[in-house]
């Protein structure tokens, strides 16, 4: 084994309400084109932070709002299909969102929102990173610590690292490849797609891969 130990960080997030709102789909299109990228991150990838472990429907806030408030299922489905983890960058995702909204508006002009429709309010997430106190030098220590850490560590090392800070395949896969020199395990970890799941489900999938790798090591 070589390299530095893996130090697990979690985080506490605070939501800041931004001065942007949309009351219908046309306004949503305008605002999606205008708000800071951080806000798009907050409403798509970062929606995972507080998602229930139970299936609750749409995987991002834009789809949720158009489905539940505007009651436009067709648009909600199209927005739900935009995978923030597949887009090359947040700017590219903004492009996908605006293209989908524009296309929808060309075919389906927005209706007047019904009574009691809540506007879409744009937020920004501030994540305060915190070391969890767990660290690992071996695959087993890594697996055991991952089973114990606060679920925000999954968000910090996978979602924040990979999709906002651009750290390769995420911190877990990168460390397993570089420090433990286990490229195949790293590949399997890097291939876990967070779209549509919850952080606990993502943890379970990582633990499955790591446990299988440990079993393999033991058999050798």
């Amino acid at each position: 084994m070589s390299g530095e130990p893996f130090v697990f960080h979690g985080g506490v997030d605070l939501k800041e309400l931004l001065p942007y709102e949309a009351h219908d789909v046309r306004q949503l299109l305008e605002q999606v084109g205008r708000v800071p990228l951080e806000s798009l991150f907050c409403h798509t990838a970062a929606a995972l932070l507080h998602r229930s472990t139970q299936p609750t429907g749409y995987p991002n806030d834009f789809a949720h709002w158009t489905g539940h408030e505007i009651r436009d299922q067709r648009l909600a489905e199209r927005l739900a299909a935009i995978d923030p983890f597949e887009s090359g960058s947040l700017e590219e995702m903004r492009g996908e969102l605006t293209a989908t909204l524009s296309d929808h508006l060309q075919h389906f002009p927005p209706s007047v929102p019904g009574l009691g429709v809540e506007p879409f309010r744009f937020f920004q997430t501030h994540l305060v990173p915190v070391p969890t106190g767990h660290q690992a030098r071996t695959l087993r220590e890594f697996r055991d610590a991952l089973a114990e850490v606060d679920v925000s560590a999954l968000f910090y090392h996978l979602i924040e690292a990979r999709y906002r800070l651009g750290r390769g395949r995420g911190d877990f896969a990168e460390w397993v490849a570089a420090a433990l020199e286990l490229p195949q395990v790293a590949e399997r970890l890097g291939a876990i797609v967070p779209y549509g799941g919850s952080l606990e489900r993502i943890r379970d999938r990582h633990l499955t891969v790591l446990t299988a790798a440990l079993d393999e090591q033991q058999r050798r």
Binding site: V12, L14, K15, E16, L17, S52, R121, V128, V130, V151
Partner: protein, 398 residues
């Protein structure tokens, strides 16, 4: 009565790893100081949260104090009027009242110890303290109430005051007013170790139910809330009547007596007098254990106000593993995951339909109750609230 709890005590109820994370964040912030300022030390959910959080923050090494503004009798009545006007209720707020508010603010600013890295001012009564703020330290206004439609004339005068804070915190995005300073949203929370929410065995529940004269021979629906028209107890009775045609069950309406001028209690009692299965309970003062027992013994909890604040009662019921059928008022939709932990409804008929659906599929009651408890564990426990305050301290007092 709130006993002193340590952060470690929450390991048994908080999400896995959460307490360790809070301890680490606390370590990082050791030596910083926080002062809370409120208009009272005795009333309201805010006070319960502060009662718990202040000692825990001090345990973590953050020098945390809690100051209370003092004024004469007229000051208290003025602050109530101002609070109601800020919440959008039509009130007469005179210039003389505002002058008095400012004077008391200045007097308190001289008296209180407000020298801290972060000063968190809770609600309307101490709002004007910020006019005397010193150059050092950051100031936050923690607005616990709905500020989305304040009385315009009053807000025109107080908005510049609110904007002297470094940031304002609202309990729900719906409650936020437009401001030129950063606005954060921090939801209220429930304390799982408090008398209201602590674990309670069946025999203790039975003791409370017997004392409240709630028979245990049938399932019962429960709404807890003040007997005010805004809590729609008559609507709840009508929903119960629709359900009662199909299921043999009871309805328990429990709450405190209404203020003067609201005669809904008499109407509720009249309706109850015609049906032995409707039980109307006027709760004793500080009925934390009684509410705990009622929520734990209920089959389904209803929370159907026509207008509401955040409605943290919903989370309290969900923490006890109960599906909640709630209205769309205030912060209720932020707590219920429709179809997962309960249902949100807009009408009496909708409430009845959802209750019937649950009673017809009893396995759903258990499944939604369990999902609700997990949802609260992750999002609405006081440990999350503590994390929010620590994050504010970390972000604003670098």
């Amino acid at each position: 009565m709130t006993s002193v709890a340590r952060l470690d005590d929450y390991r048994q109820v908080a999400p896995r790893g959460a307490v360790d994370l809070l301890l680490r964040l606390g370590e990082r912030l050791q030596g910083r100081s926080l002062v809370n300022v409120s208009g009272s030390r005795y009333r309201g959910l805010t006070i319960e949260v502060l009662n718990r959080l202040v000692p825990i923050l001090n345990d973590l090494g953050i020098d945390t104090s809690w100051e209370v503004t003092i004024g004469t009798g007229d000051f208290e009545s003025i602050t109530h009027t101002v609070a109601r006007a800020l919440a959008g209720t039509e009130q007469v707020v005179t210039d003389a009242m505002l002058v008095r508010l400012r004077e008391v603010g200045e007097e308190n600013a001289k008296r209180l110890r407000l020298d801290a890295d972060l000063v968190m001012v809770h609600d309307a009564a101490p709002l004007l303290l910020v006019e005397s703020r010193a150059a050092n330290g950051r100031w936050l206004w923690r607005c616990h109430h709905d500020l989305s439609s304040p009385q315009p004339q009053l807000w025109n005068m107080l908005r510049p005051v609110a904007q002297r804070y470094d940031a304002v915190i609202f309990s729900d995005a719906r409650f936020a007013a437009p401001l030129s300073v950063p606005r954060f949203v921090i939801h209220p929370s429930v304390d799982p170790l408090s008398e209201r929410n602590r674990d309670m065995g069946r025999s203790e529940q039975a003791t409370h139910l017997d004392r409240l004269r709630v028979p245990r021979d049938k399932p019962f629906l429960l709404q807890i809330g003040q007997f005010q028209r805004s809590h729609d107890p008559l609507g709840v009775i009508n929903a119960y009547r629709l359900v009662k045609k199909h299921y043999d069950l009871r309805l328990v309406l429990a709450g405190s007596a209404p203020g003067s001028g609201d005669n809904v209690l008499a109407e509720v009692q009249e309706a109850a007098s015609q049906d032995p299965d409707v039980r109307v309970i006027l709760l004793p003062p500080d009925p934390q254990a009684e509410m705990n027992a009622l929520e734990r013994a209920a089959t389904i909890v209803i929370y159907k106000p026509l207008s509401a604040g955040f409605g943290i009662n919903v989370s309290a019921a969900m923490w006890k593993g109960k599906p909640v059928v709630g209205s769309l008022a205030g912060g209720i939709p932020n707590q219920i995951l429709p179809g997962v932990t309960g249902y949100t409804v807009e009408t009496v008929e909708g409430a009845a339909f959802r209750i019937r659906h649950l009673l017809g599929n009893p396995e759903l009651i258990g499944r939604m109750g369990a999902a609700g408890r997990e949802h609260i564990r992750r999002n609405f426990l006081i440990t999350r609230h503590l994390g929010d305050y620590l994050a504010l301290l970390a972000m604003l007092t670098k």
